[in-house]
Symmetry: C2
């Protein structure tokens, strides 16, 4: 056989790969450094993982239900977990999805990716909050969507701007995170929620409502979900990665039956089904009433860290910087003067032993260079003040040397 | 607010959804009937699940490693499991992948779906064995591939026909299952393997080698994998669903670094990572040396069932029917006279209390209507003869009443 040159496979990649980015991986890598105070990744604190209950549940499942728990699951999910999710939604959102309105997913980004695959043709317009979860931008771009940002006010998306966009352009879908948004920490007011679904219903635009952080709330104020307001135009996607734990990939999607059916078909040719072992664990966990006590413990922890971070920001940040004051979730969002370059700052911060995510990747139009996201979910209580102090020193110096 | 008609979302679905089908779900549903002797789904027998070892491993992991096992994993997989997969490949295939040549996936179909997303533009030609795994046909069609079947001989794909196809058409990728193929049970000879990778290297065509059934062998005869012959043109995809258990979604892909890197990007916007809990369980299971003993037990079980099925076919099938005699895997493949309609037969079989999968969906051009697949993996030893007897009676009657 003649020796042939080693083939280069890049020319064979699909056109859609040009739209995908690996920024998410870079961010997760940032948060993995040792000797680093990391405010980067949106990871839950392992302290919140329900180890003791899991010891009991895994032993019980293996002893009594291995033939189901270790086998393949139907693609829409095991019937028992679907029931348990429906029970939970009925309890928390006062609306019970019909069986054909609900499926189990392998986490929240799985649901968003399945929706992108089911809905987005190349060039289709997807409206998102600007800024928004960069994984979702990547998921839509991965199917060559034209992702357009709609600006945010202090209490959520600018519905009037969205209305104008829908009137002037064929918008295929809008993706929103109404609760303790990633990256801003902002919660959408009840008024904006009603206005948003009205606009979308009027224009016939499907809404994807990402509720990843909804249960991580530090107050009793719970505006209604978009899905409970308008189940005919909203697909809600959720995850148990931040409430139960991420090590089994689990979430749900609930929405119009035709959309769920297409997501199920897309899932068959993705991972086929979420793992049955995790599904059975979560079902038993929910049935055992363990989630609400875990949420109370988690929210006490995260709320305390949020307070520590806001106090440290008050103390260490120079004039010219502003930030959001979240009532839940994992993040606060900082804004500096227009000329501030937070990508360059991130590099210097890493040298000073502190990590965060610069603002640009959260913006579909790649603006937001003067903004940055701080996660308070994983940094130790004792590290928060020190990390913010170092960051404050760097920013103060950048502002003074301008 | 005026009452608006309930929106229909079907018009908003992406063009690619026209190529996706839900046949896989229908087949899994077929195998779920009670009171039914099912030769339909390719499910492992729960008897093979390593429950006792898992009881020990889950307890140990939860006690000592919960912060990693219950957390997010890096997208390419946890370093420890990637090492363990590399060790295993070095041991079984005499080639150790470099770190950038290997990733952890959420099962085998996840890997095939990620490759389809990374490689296939609408209209791209994907060559497959005819017949082949219908989940793979769906995965490629889900990205609007032009899927072309290449006929199979008794010892594997017709390499000359593939060569002609590659010479006359721009083939993007070829997907093959060399070991105990789904659905035929055929194993590709060593000669054809060498010829296949030579043809693909010459034409610059990437090969996807699906080794889902490779370890489920009833003989000591192990022709080399395509990947070990040609790691520069082959991506191997594997799963532990049939060797460990399916209830945690796990598999691997190993191939050229540029291709693996694109798959990792695609995975970030799919399920982000395989579940860390399953990854840690599998790593410890492999390190503990438990896989080979499990494989010996499983292969004794499946080999016995294969023998029972072949004996029952010899006894109950009328003249005019032929079938393959597999040396591993889960399936045998029956061929009847040209006019036989196995879709209609499947309906009558279900009424008679026996299930199988008709041949057509395994053929990209939807021929093969006179063929059918029987899985011997899950039917109880005592049911195999009775199920085949019922099927033989139906087929005998169809042949006599022609």
């Amino acid at each position: 056989m003649p020796t042939l040159p080693k083939p280069s496979w890049s020319p064979t990649f699909a056109t859609r790969t040009e739209g995908a980015s690996s920024e998410l991986a870079a961010i997760l890598a940032l948060s993995a450094g040792t000797d680093l105070i990391s405010f980067a990744g949106g990871l839950p604190d392992p302290q919140t993982f329900p180890v003791a209950v899991l010891e009991d549940l895994t032993a019980r499942l293996l002893a009594t239900d291995a033939a189901t728990a270790l086998q393949y699951s139907p693609t829409p999910g095991l019937p028992g977990l679907r029931e348990a999710f429906a029970d939970r939604l009925e309890h928390t959102e006062c609306r019970r999805p019909e069986p054909e309105e609900l499926m189990v997913t392998s986490g929240n980004i799985d649901a968003v990716g399945l929706l992108a695959k089911a809905l987005v043709d190349p060039g289709d317009v997807v409206a998102v909050e600007a800024p928004t979860y960069l994984g979702a931008i990547d998921a839509f771009r991965g199917f060559q969507a034209d992702v357009r940002g709609v600006r945010m006010a202090g209490d959520g998306i600018d519905v009037e701007a969205l209305d104008h966009l829908c009137a002037s352009t064929a918008v295929k879908v809008i993706y929103a995170i109404p609760d303790h948004q990633n990256p801003t920490g902002i919660t959408m007011s009840a008024e904006r929620r009603t206005a948003l679904v009205d606009v979308c219903r009027r224009h016939g635009v499907l809404v994807i409502e990402d509720v990843a952080y909804r249960e991580l709330t530090f107050t009793d104020d719970r505006p209604p979900t978009l899905w409970s307001l308008a189940p005919d135009v909203v697909v809600q996607t959720g995850t148990t990665s931040k409430t139960f734990f991420p090590g089994v990939r689990l979430g749900w999607a609930t929405g119009p039956p035709a959309v769920i059916a297409q997501m199920v078909i897309a899932k068959q040719n993705a991972d086929q089904c979420a793992g049955a072992f995790g599904q059975r664990l979560l079902e038993e966990y929910l049935r055992g009433g363990h989630l609400d006590p875990q949420l109370r413990r988690s929210n006490t922890l995260y709320s305390g860290r949020c307070d520590l971070m806001l106090a440290a920001l008050d103390e260490h940040m120079p004039d010219g910087m502003t930030w959001t004051r979240p009532h839940g979730g994992f993040f606060t969002w900082l804004t500096g003067p227009e000329w501030l370059d937070t990508v360059a700052l991130a590099q210097r911060a890493q040298e000073a032993g502190v990590a965060f995510v610069p603002g640009r990747p959260f913006h579909p139009q790649r603006d937001g260079a003067n903004k940055l996201r701080l996660a308070f979910s994983l940094a130790g209580d004792d590290d928060i003040d020190e990390g913010v102090r170092r960051l404050g020193t760097l920013i103060t110096s950048a502002l003074e040397n301008r």
